[in-house]
């Protein structure tokens, strides 16, 4: 599948989205600050950054698990920013999420077949034998067997459990799947298999992924475009090749440089200096400065430094 180009009809359009959490002493955590981005149909947009940069908050805002404090979310042409939970239900079919820990995402006392079938029942799509047939087909689609549907989560390995979570996310034939660190807890060989599966499913079903990850090497494999987040803001956004081969922002460069290289002949000097990522917590009356993105190449945006 060729890299989707920016269109006037994106699947998801996020405009000037912000999320501020009030904390003690009238201070505020600016978790997501004025983020604008688009997810095109059939593309994987990766959002990378370190702990606390706001990448998971962004995912939760888009799927409306959190309410934004500012900005808009447009899904398939419909503004879903202020929809009530009831009104949101119709849109939820298009929008699914996979979390990091598959064991925590599956009910231990319920067969995995029931877990995968539940979205179809909740949305009153199908029942009975047809439901069973659809669930069996979903298991096969993610590389599992129909006979697995009667088993319980503890009977599966971590990789299998994540396949089950993917099957459940696909049950409603969504258009966007948000993967929030979905492969981070898996061993590398299993991680590679699950990523390959996600790419196959994208080709077959034309899915879009919003792939939230801290792992740049994985992101390089799976993404069409990449957004780099730092302290709640996007500091660089562009095609995968631009971000990895021609990073412009100093934070992107620092992030890439920190990734260990699996080649003992390429050891580098490591910084001995101690630095922490600054806090997104702002005292009362103060707020972060808004960064402006400049287009340095077509589709490649960089924050001014």
């Amino acid at each position: 599948m060729s890299a989707p180009v920016a269109t006037s009809n994106p699947l998801v359009k996020v405009e000037d989205l912000s999320k501020v959490f009030p904390v003690a002493d009238r201070a505020k955590i600016h978790a997501v600050e004025h983020i604008s981005l688009q997810v095109e149909r059939g593309e994987t947009l990766a959002v990378v950054g370190e702990s606390g940069c706001g990448k998971s908050t962004l995912a939760h805002l888009i799927i409306r698990l959190l309410d934004p404090t500012g900005g808009r979310i447009v899904l398939d042409g419909d503004d879903i920013t202020d929809l009530s939970p009831r009104a949101m239900r119709a849109h939820r079919q298009k929008l699914q999420i996979i979390f990091q820990d598959p064991f925590a995402s599956l009910d231990p006392r319920r067969t995995v077949g029931r877990a995968v079938g539940e979205p179809l029942q909740v949305h009153k799509i199908t029942y009975g034998e047809e439901l069973e047939e659809r669930v069996g087909a979903l298991f096969e689609r993610v590389g599992m067997e129909r006979s697995h549907t009667t088993q319980f989560p503890h009977q599966f390995s971590g990789g299998q459990r994540q396949r089950i979570c993917i099957a459940r996310a696909l049950a409603l034939e969504p258009e966007l799947v948000i993967a929030d660190e979905a492969v981070s807890a898996l061993d590398v060989s299993i991680q590679a298999q699950v990523i390959n599966l996600m790419m196959d499913l994208q080709e077959e079903m034309g899915l879009s992924y919003l792939f939230i990850s801290h792992d740049l090497a994985v992101v390089e494999r799976i993404s069409h475009r990449v957004a780099v987040m730092y302290l709640g803001q996007i500091v660089e956004l562009g095609p995968r090749s631009a971000i990895f081969e021609d990073p412009q922002h100093s934070y992107t460069q620092k992030l890439l440089d920190a990734v260990p290289i699996a080649d003992p002949r390429k050891r580098r000097k490591r910084p001995l200096l101690t630095s922490d990522v600054p806090s997104p917590r702002w005292p009362h009356g103060e707020h972060p400065e808004r960064v402006e993105l400049i287009e340095v190449d077509p589709g490649h945006f960089v924050a001014a430094e």
Binding site: M1, S2, A3, T44, E50, S51, G158, D187, V188, S189, I190, Q191, A192, Q193, I195, N196, M199, H214, D215, L216, A217, V218, E220, R221, I222, S223, H224, P239, R240, S241, F244, E245, K254, L255, L256, D257, A258, V259, P260, I261, A262, D263, P264, R265, K266, R267, R268, K269, R270, P271, L272, L273, T274, S275, D276, V277
Partner: protein, 306 residues
């Protein structure tokens, strides 16, 4: 010797292979044919390796391969509160006085004088390893008082020294902080400081950077490398991350299903792997830059996939 190589001092230390003078040829730690069982389950089966002064050995493998059990066996922590048993094998440790003891046979009383003192351990998650209700300075000082039998003031002085050693900024002020006031990277520095406070000759590090962000991981790996050069300690690092192995190891032991699949120098393992499992492990490691020149996402090669 390629003097023009800018990273020459970072290159792996050549293996000693019994050559050189006798003192260096005797390993600091020698694990021989170790077998550890949990009832009928064999968690570690016939594992052998040596570590010398100033060298880093990486034990690499996936979840459940037996790598952590190997480290816990060296510390003799594996039997505590579990049904684990060291069934067979030797764990020969050369003490600072030159005597060689078999840790697999030592009494708990003797182990207490070695554990956390001559052999220290750093764990993955610093927040669970630190007591939330004591300041970090207190906790490091407590370890010093326990192992070195010194008074409180001297122990606090030593805590300050090791905080400086691990490059904690404003060390004096930081001693008075509680764990929750520190970032993950700073807490891991505290754990490393605690591990170094007794001048151990062997350091066991179980996934020391796995819980850290990548820029912080880079700092901690750089710090560990520098500290090893300063102290000449032997380091056994347990990791699932082949990138970390390539960055720090001299020698590598690859484990799978309780057994050693392959072992050798870091170059042997990365450039001349002989076993299908090692090859598969290397093939599935995401490598930055592997996509240069490609515009589309690409599948991983799964060598030997069933």
């Amino acid at each position: 010797m390629s003097t023009q190589d800018p990273v020459d001092d970072l290159a792996p230390t050549p293996r000693l292979d019994g050559v050189g003078d006798d003192k260096t040829a005797t390993p600091l730690l020698s694990v021989r044919d170790l077998r550890v069982t949990f009832d009928s389950f064999i968690a570690v089966d016939g594992v052998s390796f040596d570590i010398h002064e100033g060298q880093t050995l990486a034990v690499v493998g996936e979840s459940g391969s037996g790598k952590s059990v190997t480290a816990l066996s060296i510390m003799r922590l594996v039997e505590l509160g579990t049904r684990a048993k060291i069934e067979r094998g030797e764990i020969l440790f050369r003490r600072p006085d030159g005597s060689i003891v078999d840790l697999a046979q030592e009494s708990e009383a003797k182990m207490r004088s070695i554990r956390g003192n001559q052999i220290s351990m750093i764990f993955q998650e610093p927040l669970t390893s630190l007591n939330p209700v004591y300041t970090v300075g207190n906790q490091v000082a407590e370890a010093v008082m326990l192992h070195q039998g010194v008074g409180r003031a001297a122990a606090m002085q030593r805590a300050l020294e090791v905080f400086d050693l691990v490059r904690i900024p404003e060390a004096k002020r930081r001693l008075k902080e509680y764990p929750h006031q520190m970032s993950g990277g700073m807490r891991q520095r505290v754990m490393i400081a605690m591990a170094l406070s007794s001048d151990p000759t062997v350091i066991l590090a179980d996934e020391p950077t796995t819980a850290l962000d990548v820029t912080i991981q880079a700092q901690i790996l750089g710090l560990m490398r520098e500290l090893q050069r300063e102290t000449n300690a032997a380091v056994l690092i347990i990791t699932h991350d082949m990138g970390v192995v390539a960055e720090v190891a001299d020698d590598v032991v690859v484990m799978n299903r309780s057994k050693v699949v392959e072992q050798g120098s870091v170059y042997d393992i990365f450039e001349r792997p002989t076993q299908p499992y090692t090859k598969a492990l290397l093939a599935s490691v995401p490598r930055l830059g592997s996509m240069t020149g490609l515009s589309e996402p690409a599948h991983f090669d799964l060598v030997g996939e069933a």
